[in-house]
Amino acid sequence: MAGEKKTATSVTGRDDDGTTLPGSAGLPRGGPIARHADSEAPAPRVTVNKAYKMYVGGAFVRSESGRYFQVRGSAVGHDTDPPTVNVPRASRKDVRDAVLVAHNAKVSWAARTPFNRGQILYRLAEVLESRSSELEASLVRGGTDADDAAAEVDASIDRAVFYAGMADKVSALVATHNPVSGPHFGFSIPEPMGVIGVIAPEKPTLLGLLSTVLPVVTTGNTAVALASELDPRTAILFCECLATSDFPGGVINVLTGHPFEVAPIMAKHREVTGIDAWLSDAELRTQVERLGADSVKRAKTHAPRDLEFWLGERQGQGIGWVEPFLETKTVWHPVGL
């Protein structure tokens, strides 16, 4: 496992043998809590650190493999994290478990009315808004520039609102009545595909995850997403928002780990109908498309885009994000007595 390709610079990784991978040194760290207290001062309170876990089936779970990778970041505000944090490193079986959970959730999620899904997405926006400062701090801690972080959180909340209002408009935008020449009534309606695998872009770490996952689930798909390895903590904070919103467990599942490990597994998994992979590595993109062919997967791969793209109301969201993960079902019926 050692020596695997690394693409992110702010990530430190540890393999099972505990070897620290390169690329982690020199990041600033800090926080309001002095960790080496002066002996004469009153003994400082010892903080309770958060254990970061992946979000699968509405629960926070460790990797079944017991593997982890490490991230560092500068603490901002009331951040209790130690300088180095262990984050689960999703394994093959974690992907399998998450896909199973997403698969089991898909029928009831798709069966909900679009209005209901819209309500749930809107509730998510409310929860995000209420935790916006926390999200912003987390982004900064994860390496996002402070100015960008504020914009990113705002855009993320607005994106949730956008897709909340999209759920019950999709049909009106893409469905058709087909004026066939004959005594038949025909129509074509959009339907969710099933389980969609999402490899979220490295950056922006929060907006990228929302922008890729929400258009997938608004139409009734369920998602298994791999969060940016640059800042998995913000993704997990987002999952806490999910957990306290009205989203049923299993609809959005978020793994943490490495794209070069997770993306090929998703691409090969036959229960994953579509995949939306944002990968900086062109070869990995090709690999995902190639592996997906074994199950005729709807595989969409993308090279990284800049923040402006993601923030843009025309580019970063829209029906064009929803359509690739819809099937068209055409129904014919005779018109007669």
Partner: protein, 518 residues
């Protein structure tokens, strides 16, 4: 009124009266089941062959590249054979990678120089011209389609050719309305489309592919199937006569290697393929990472679900049309019949009687219902799968029709007593072979229907409207025919779920495959 003791006692006591009555009912049932309708020769139809006299095929066809007929670089030609007579109809050029390269260059040139820049309204008129010419030459095209592919003339005459023309008409009208097609989103053509089509609906598939591609402003290199290249070449003549700018449509004949060269060509922007799931996967693999856009229309193993409350006589028509249309060489064929157990026997009985009236034979005869199997290789595949069905213990019934001594033939056949695990219930046979299974509840029907890697089409037969919507919503299939089957229209999107492919052909949705929508 309820007296549990009494009921219990009655249930415990073996009722000899009841048993006697049951035996009598069973006897009567067997007696009436033995009553057969006779479909003999009391009044036999005389042969009514469509005459191919005025159809003049050339001895040898070249490649159609850049508006010119060009000999293949390889210098090689292959025979195209009539599957009903095994006679060679013509020789056709075998295009190789160099020819494909010439064709793609011609298409690129045409795209850059004329077609990509042309106003939609002007493009439309060229496409309309093709539609009209197809109508004018309909009879000739139908005859050639039937000679080259073996399908009954009544199908090529009433389905293939009119629909091919309709696809050009339909898409022509879109050419100058693309700005409205996607709610104001900007669209632009993709460039050069490489298209590979199958042998089951040769001209119709060419139309499905070419019409939307060129209407949207792309240029095309099309490779027809090697067993049925003739109508695509006649279409090339029509395109020539319609005076389309040279290179907008190029036809390169050949076999699998030619197709592989086409989809693999680096200057192709879009690949469209209709054919087997195996080849579709190969193509998807081959073009991974190339940035080429791809649509695949692949195999199927459609469930045709007959509920007990359906009008059964019409359901039987739908079953027959679903599987025996075009000898079952139809990707959306209703090849699995799921019939509610309570009406299984009567449906099978009606089906047998209906099949006795199917007329198999000379595809050019206007009364022929079932034509020739497209090729010897396909016939062997059908035979192999039918044999596996027999080995697996399913019960075979074949229509009582005489098979001609020359050519490739297989009688309309069905299997009863089959289960989901049989190969004949799982694999696409692509022949006139139906596998019949039963179900008890709607949920079971849905579960069995979806129990396949394919998801192209499905049929539902019931008199209850709400049941249609309930079942249709739950079937994983791209086209659902309720109380009808095998209906096609250029305005109606067609394409699959799961391993039946992705992308849609037809309708507004079909345009998306040939446009960059921003």
């Amino acid at each position: 009124m309820t007296d549990p003791d009494r009921t219990d006692r009655a249930a415990d006591r073996p009722s000899s009266d009841l048993m006697k009555r049951e035996t009598a009912v069973e006897k009567a049932r067997q007696k009436t089941a033995a009553l057969a309708l006779e479909f003999g020769k009391a009044w036999e139809y005389a042969p009514a062959p469509e005459t191919p006299d005025h159809v003049k095929l050339e001895e040898r066809y070249q490649l159609f590249i850049g508006g010119k007929w060009m000999p293949p670089k390889s210098g090689k030609y292959f025979d195209t054979v009539s599957p009903s007579t095994e006679q060679t109809l013509a020789q056709v050029a075998e295009g190789n990678a160099e020819d494909v390269d010439r064709a793609v260059k011609a298409a690129r040139h045409a795209y850059d120089k004329y077609w990509g820049k042309m106003r939609g309204a002007e493009r439309a008129k060229y496409v309309f011209r093709i539609a009209r010419a197809l109508q004018e030459k309909a009879r000739e095209l139908a005859i050639v389609e039937t000679m080259d592919g073996g399908k009954p003339i009544k199908e090529s005459r009433d389905v293939d050719i009119p629909l091919a023309s309709a696809h050009f008409f339909y898409n022509a009208g879109w050419a100058d309305k693309l700005d409205y097609a996607f709610h104001g989103r900007k669209v632009r053509p993709l460039g050069v489309a490489g298209q590979v089509i199958p042998w089951n609906f040769p001209l119709l598939m060419a139309a499905w592919k070419i019409a939307p591609a060129i209407a949207c402003g792309n240029t095309v290199v099309l490779k027809p199937a090697e067993t049925t290249p003739l109508t695509a070449l006649l279409l090339a003549q029509i395109i020539e006569e319609a005076e389309l700018p040279p290179g907008v449509v190029n036809i390169v004949t050949g076999a699998g290697e030619t197709g592989a060269a086409l989809v693999g060509h680096p200057d192709v922007n879009k690949v469209a393929f209709t054919g087997s799931t195996d080849v579709g996967k190969k193509i998807q693999r081959a073009i991974a990472g190339s940035g080429k856009r791809l649509t695949l229309e692949l195999g199927g193993k459609a469930a045709n679900i007959v509920f007990a409350d359906a009008p059964l006589d019409q359901a039987v028509e739908g079953i027959v049309g679903g599987i025996y249309f075009n000898q079952g060489h139809v990707c959306c064929a209703g090849s699995r019949l799921l019939v509610e157990e309570s009406v299984h026997d009567i449906v099978v009985r009606k089906l047998k009687d209906r099949m006795a009236t199917l007329r198999l034979g000379d595809p050019l005869d206007k009364n022929t219902d079932v034509g020739a199997i497209n090729s010897r290789a396909q016939l062997e595949r059908i035979k192999e799968l039918v044999l596996s069905g027999e080995r697996e213990g399913a019960e075979r019934f074949s229509a009582p029709c005489e098979l001609p001594s020359k050519g490739f033939w297989f009688p309309p056949t069905f299997f009863t007593n089959a289960s989901q695990s049989c190969r004949i219930a799982r694999e696409e046979i692509f022949g006139p072979v139906l596998t019949i299974m039963t179900f008890r509840t709607p949920d079971e029907a849905i579960e069995k229907a979806n129990n396949t890697m394919y998801g192209l089409s499905a049929g539902i037969w019931t008199d209850k409207g709400s049941k249609i919507f309930h079942v249709a919503t739950r079937l994983q299939a791209g086209v659902i025919w309720a109380n009808t089957y095998n209906k096609f229209d250029p305005s109606s999107p067609f394409g699959g779920y799961k391993e039946s492919g992705f992308g849609r052909e037809g309708g507004r949705q079909g345009l998306a495959a040939y446009l960059e929508v921003q």
